[in-house]
Amino acid sequence: MIEINACGLSCPEPVVMLAKALKEKPTEVIIHVDAPAACENCTRFATNSGYTVEKSTQENKTVLICRKKH
């Protein structure tokens, strides 16, 4: 399992970090984001890469749990 803190980073750094992590085809990646655009972009990228995405948001911070589809 890989965990990434992408809070406070400008577009598209969170997705670039996620893309790098997904290259290794891990079964699960957790990414923390605090911008709505980053949340949408990471969700889209993970979904297009064959992962399911589970979101939980508290105030302005969102945790995305990306799990590899079987």
């Binding site: 406070g8 980073l9 577009c11 598209p12 750094e13 997705v15 605090d34 655009a37 949408e40 297009n48």
Partner: protein, 352 residues
């Protein structure tokens, strides 16, 4: 509605509004131009005194407030800042000077293309090249470091400043300078410009529309989601221009434009490169400032400073072409952006 459909819908609305603004008085192919409008506002505030480009553009006020309204309604208002604000100011300064050498921001570049101005096609190639340079560094770890949560008032202040501008415009316009001829004297009625800005700001916030982001994401992730908004603006503005007989296909005699291909190309290369380093195009910076991002507010101050310098030191182009100073500043900008990108990619110490 899916993200892409909403982006296309937003792009279509923006394209039509942009042409409508020119029908009602804005300069040709300048329904919106973030660079030109911030430059005009800087002129109205006497930060520069070029007599033909001074007007407090209500569109800018509307864009920021429309974005702030959308962000507040959607609970996305989030005051944050501290991600290399001075570097962002400097990049903003260079992006503005590059835009004023071409004579337009990426938004106006699309509108110029949709009006048949082929010089904008050369600029688009330069813009893509600049984005490519930015992507080169992004792929290797470029970062201006993290932003951190800030106080509510810090995040709201830029929007409050826009309200102050509105009050001054409405109550004591004699404090400001308005052009009596040239592009600065050409504008749609105040309320129409303000409403157009509010609508575009509102939709651009929700859709995350970004003129640089579309091409950047295509390079980085082969993702065309953001690009669809960019294309939709072009299509809608093209159809609207054809409908109102404002489409004239040529290089020569285009409004507020010049035909020096090299400087159109290089000017927009600066804008593309700088926009990727900033994380978004000039329009997106306005939208983010409305969302409470004070790094974007600093970038916009950089735009305003760049505009003031561009006219105080004769760096901005005219219909006859780029000036010597403009050429020097574009080369300086390309070198400076490369150095900034290099140090923020290969020599950075990350703050946790």
């Amino acid at each position: 509605m899916t993200e892409k459909k909403f982006l296309i819908f937003t792009g279509l609305i923006i394209g039509i509004i942009s042409v409508a603004l020119t029908v009602y008085g804005n300069p040709a192919n300048m329904g919106f131009c973030i660079a030109c409008f911030i430059r005009d506002t800087a002129g109205a505030l006497k930060l520069h005194t070029a007599p033909v480009v001074q007007y407090m553009r209500p569109e800018i006020v509307g864009l920021v407030l429309g974005a702030a309204l959308s962000a507040l309604i959607r609970r996305e208002f989030s005051p944050k800042g501290g991600s290399s604000p001075f570097i962002r100011f400097i990049i903003g300064f260079f992006v503005m000077t590059g835009a004023l050498v071409f004579l337009g921001c990426p938004f106006r570049m699309i509108l110029r293309l949709a009006g048949g101005d082929l010089n904008a096609l050369i600029a688009l190639i330069g813009f893509i090249a600049g984005i490519g340079a930015g992507v080169f560094f992004l792929k290797r770890g470029f970062s201006l470091n993290r932003a951190y949560p800030q106080s509510k008032i810090e995040g709201l202040l830029f929007s409050i400043l826009q309200i102050v501008f509105l009050i001054v415009f409405a109550a004591v316009p004699t404090l400001l300078v308005f052009s009596t001829n040239g592009p600065g004297s050409m504008h749609a009625p105040f309320l129409l410009s303000l409403a157009a800005g509010l609508v575009v700001g509102f939709f651009a916030q929700k859709s995350r529309l970004c003129m640089a982001g579309g091409i950047r994401d295509l390079f980085l992730f082969k993702d065309i989601t953001l690009l669809s908004g960019f294309v939709a603006i072009f299509v809608a503005a093209l159809i609207a221009n054809l409908t109102v007989d404002q489409f004239h296909l040529s290089f020569d005699a285009q409004p507020v434009a010049h035909t020096q291909h090299l400087w159109n190309f290089l000017g927009m290369s600066v804008v593309g490169f700088g926009s990727v380093l900033l994380g978004g195009c000039p329009l997106r910076q306005l939208i983010l400032s409305g969302e409470g991002n004070t790094d974007s507010a600093m970038t916009i101050l950089g735009f305003a400073a760049g505009a003031a310098f561009a006219h105080n030191f004769n760096l901005a182009s005219s219909a006859t072409g780029a000036t010597t100073g403009g050429k020097v500043v574009v080369i300086t900008a390309l070198v400076s952006l490369t150095l900034i990108a290099f140090f923020a990619t290969f020599k950075k110490k990350e703050n946790k």
